[in-house]
Structure formats: C-alpha cells, structure tokens
C-alpha cells in the first residue's frame, strides 16, 4: 500500500517536475531522451511504454488502450506534439516506430492468444481433429492410432481415451502449443516424451504440456513476457513467438523437473510454482531472453543459459 502511495505521489508530482526541469535543461522531451540514451531492447521499450502511460497528453496515453493503432500516424503525431525535428533527430522516428510496434503488438498478441484459448476443442471440427492426429503422428511415427477414441492416447500423456476433455480452460491454445512443439522441435518433443515415461519420476507429457500452456498464458497476461519479446522481436510479436516461448518453457521445465531430488508426480504443482518463480525472477532482468538449449537443438551440446 505504501508503495502505491509513493508511486502516486511520484507520478503525480515529482516525476512531472523532474521531467519539466530536464526538458528545460536539455531541450528534449522524455521520449526523445529515452531513444537517445537507452540502447535497443526491452529496457528502452519499457521506458517508452511507461512514459506514454504517465503522459498527461490524452493522445499519447490513449495509444496504450486503443486497438488497431496506426503506428505511422501515431509516430507523426508524437513528433508534431513534442516538436521533434526529423532533421536534427533522424533516429527518433524509426526508433519510436519500432517501440510502438512492440508495445501495441504485445497487446494484440494477448487478445489473439486469449481468443484462441477460448475456442473449445470440438471433435466435429475437422481442423481440430487434424491437429490432434498430427500431434500423434509427430510423437509416435511408428505406431498407428487404432481408433479416434482409444486408450493409446495415454501413451502420449493424455488422461483417458479421448484427449478432447483434457484441453479444458486452455482450449485450442493448448493443442496448438503441443503441435507446434512436436512439429518444429520434433526430436526434442520425442526426447521429452520418452523421458516423461520414467516409471518413478515420470510425468504425463500431454497433461504437463497443457499445464505449461497455462503458465505461458499467465506470463503473457501479467506482462512478464515483455522482457523476452521486446528483446527478441524487433517489431510486432506474433502468435508464433508465443509458441516459441511455450517450447522453451516446456523444454526447460522438463530439465528442471528431473533436476529435483526424489520426485514423483504428486509434487507437480509445487515444482511448477518453483519453476515459475525462477522464470519470473529471470525476466525481471531487462536484458533477459528465454533462449536455451532448445534454440540450437537438443543434440547440440552448447551450454544453455542456466535458469
């Protein structure tokens, strides 16, 4: 509570005064100062975002709430309002443009991910069914699925004979995540599946996968993924980037799981929380990216960034 009082006082009084003084001293607005002093990456984009958020100018603040912002118009507008001359500061326009693409894109990504999550898996939808059979054939290329409703599904870690009921609150997003992982990182996915079959310490691959979708979705909505996405995607982050983050999380979770001493499946939620804390902690460093062994392929021995 104290912190929010401080924050209020700071942004209502101290920060505007400080900004006003700096503006007089340097002759540059805050946005311009950020683009000049902070190198490209999450730190810069986050600073721009914070500056817009606390701006007293309605059009600037509004950029963070509107859908389908026309980025070029917004940049031209800001340069006019802040009287930044493109001749004197040629880098300002393009830099601001990229930051706005990232900021608005992140928000669009949240709504895209959310609408995918809300689509319930439907066995009458041929696209959904095709994705499901793709998941099977990628993970189990040598085994034919004998029927759509079959105990075989438990072999890849679904709970029962129809995976449909396992997607639950993650909907189509859970399936898309799994299919992306199994398709783009097929070797890694098969490796994880076989590790998950360990008789004592194993886990249910697909179910854990769906729980990791829940984690990725949470990290996106809470804004924690900004660090990674702003550092890695120099433009608008898209669904594919979310899938990539998912793959990273699932791959790293598996490593984290087996690094725990004496473990069984009943400790899943405890271990998941521990894992989540570490990821969140790591993303607090504005230079962090979620890249590990997965991006260079699991067969490569390149050391991954430790969690």
């Amino acid at each position: 509570m104290l912190l929010s009082v401080y924050e209020y006082v700071y942004y209502a009084f101290l920060h505007p005064m400080w900004k006003w003084m700096l503006r007089r001293l340097t002759g540059k607005c805050e946005l311009l100062r950020i683009t000049l002093s902070v190198p490209r990456g999450a730190q810069r984009t986050c600073n721009i975002e914070s500056s817009l958020k606390h701006s007293k100018i309605h059009t600037l603040k509004g950029l963070l709430a509107e859908d389908n912002v026309n980025i070029d118009d917004a940049v031209a507008n800001i340069m006019r309002i802040k009287s930044v001359s493109p001749e004197i500061h040629p880098q300002f326009g393009p830099t601001l443009r990229m930051c706005l693409c990232q900021i608005c894109g992140y928000r669009q990504l949240i709504s895209e991910v959310e609408s995918t999550r809300r689509i319930q898996y439907c066995s009458e939808n041929s696209e959904h069914e095709a994705l499901l059979s793709q998941l099977w054939s990628k993970l189990k290329p040598d085994t034919q699925l004998t029927a759509r409703i079959s105990k075989q599904w438990t072999e890849i870690g679904f709970q029962g004979d129809d995976p449909m009921t396992d997607f639950r609150g993650m909907g189509l997003l859970g399936l898309q995540n799994l299919v992306f992982f199994a398709t783009v990182y097929t070797d890694a996915a098969r490796q994880l599946l076989s590790r998950s079959e360990h008789p004592q310490n194993g886990y249910s691959f697909a179910i854990v996968g769906i729980n990791i979708t829940g984690l990725a979705h949470q990290l996106l909505n809470s804004g924690h993924l900004k660090t990674h996405l702003y550092n890695v995607v120099h433009g608008q982050p898209r669904l594919e980037h979310f899938h990539q983050v998912y793959c990273y999380l699932l791959y790293e979770f598996d490593k984290f799981w087996f690094s725990q001493e004496t473990i069984d499946i009943m400790q899943f939620n405890h271990v998941k929380q521990k894992f989540q804390k570490r990821i969140v902690q790591r993303l607090k460093d504005k230079h962090a990216t979620l890249h590990g062994a997965l991006t260079v392929g699991p067969s490569n021995n390149a050391a991954s960034v430790p969690l």
Partner: protein, 182 residues
C-alpha cells in the same frame, strides 16, 4: 492487507479445521468444484497433475480441501491422502454415462478402505447443466448408495460450472462432521 481485514482475520481465527478429501475420475470436475467453493475464477482450469489444496471458510469452519488428480495413473496415490480425513467428497460427471461403472468401482473401493471407515461421504452428481446429465436419484440407484452402511452419506446434484447446488453440499458437510470435531 487493510487494517479491517487484519482485524477480521485475528478475530475469526482459530477456526475449527477440517480435512476434506475431494476424489473422483478425471474430468469429473473436482478442480472446478474446488475453485467454485473458494469463489475463484474457473475459466483457466487445466488437468490436475498431482493435487491442489485450498482452504475454504464455511459456517465458521476452515475446510482444508485436497483435490487429487483423477487420472488412472495417479489413482494409486489417493491412499496417501486418506489419513485423518473428516469428510470424503466424491465427484461424478453425471453426463458421462459410459464411465458410470468405472466410477462406481472406484467409489466402492474407497468405501472399503480401512482408513476411511466411518468417514461421511458426499457424492456430487456434477454437470447437471448438461442436457444429457443423469439425475442424482438415478446415479444413487446405479451406485447402490442406499446400501452404504456405517457412515453418513448424501448425494447432491450440482453444477460446478454455474455453482448451483455446491453450497447445499457444503452445508451438508459441516452438518455431518464426525463427533468430537464439532
């Protein structure tokens, strides 16, 4: 935490604590029920690997509810949670008629467990909001609940998704706490 909330917390503790075990097949709706009891958002639920635990306040009791995953693979772990159970809640997907037999067998096994002897059992006939849900009376008959001896039991029709019937079940739970706990 606000001052008022703090005072309220000081005043209402120490509650009488109860250990509630929430079991049933996978996809019966145990986690949704748990979240509904705790008045939490139910739209982001994922299949339970392992277990969830929440403390829920009800009629001056602090109910520590253990929601254990229902997947066949983890049912052998159920027994690790039997000890000191005050009330067993068993959840059934009333619309999944194909699995009535399976769920009946699991419930029968639970009722035969020595560590759960005499423990009151509440059966939630869940998913009553689905058009093809079997009514509670039909389920009670199919599972031969009337043949239960040596313990209190109750069947409660409910929809964990809408919340309907959940409260009625919880009221039964706190009314049927084993003697010595009240």
């Amino acid at each position: 935490m606000g001052l008022l909330a703090l005072l309220r917390k000081l005043k209402s503790s120490p509650d009488r604590e109860l250990r509630i075990l929430l079991l049933g097949l996978d996809n019966a709706g145990k986690t949704t029920l748990l979240k509904q009891m705790a008045s939490e958002d139910i739209s982001h639920i994922t299949p339970t690997q392992g277990f969830n635990i929440k403390s829920v306040q009800s009629s001056g009791f602090k109910l520590n509810v253990w929601d254990i995953g229902g997947q066949r693979k983890i049912r052998p772990y159920w027994r690790n949670y039997f000890e000191n159970t005050d009330v067993l809640i068993y959840v059934i997907d009333s619309a999944d008629r194909k699995r009535f037999e399976e769920t009946g067998i699991e419930l029968g096994d639970l009722l035969d467990e020595e560590k759960l002897m005499g423990v009151p059992v509440l059966v939630y006939a869940n998913k009553q909001d689905l058009f093809n849900a079997a009514p509670a009376s039909e389920i009670a008959e199919g599972l031969n609940l009337h043949g239960i001896r040596g313990r209190q039991w109750q069947i409660q029709a409910c929809s964990a998704a809408s919340g309907e019937g959940v409260k009625d079940g919880m009221e039964w739970v706190v009314k049927n706490i084993p003697k010595g706990k009240k």
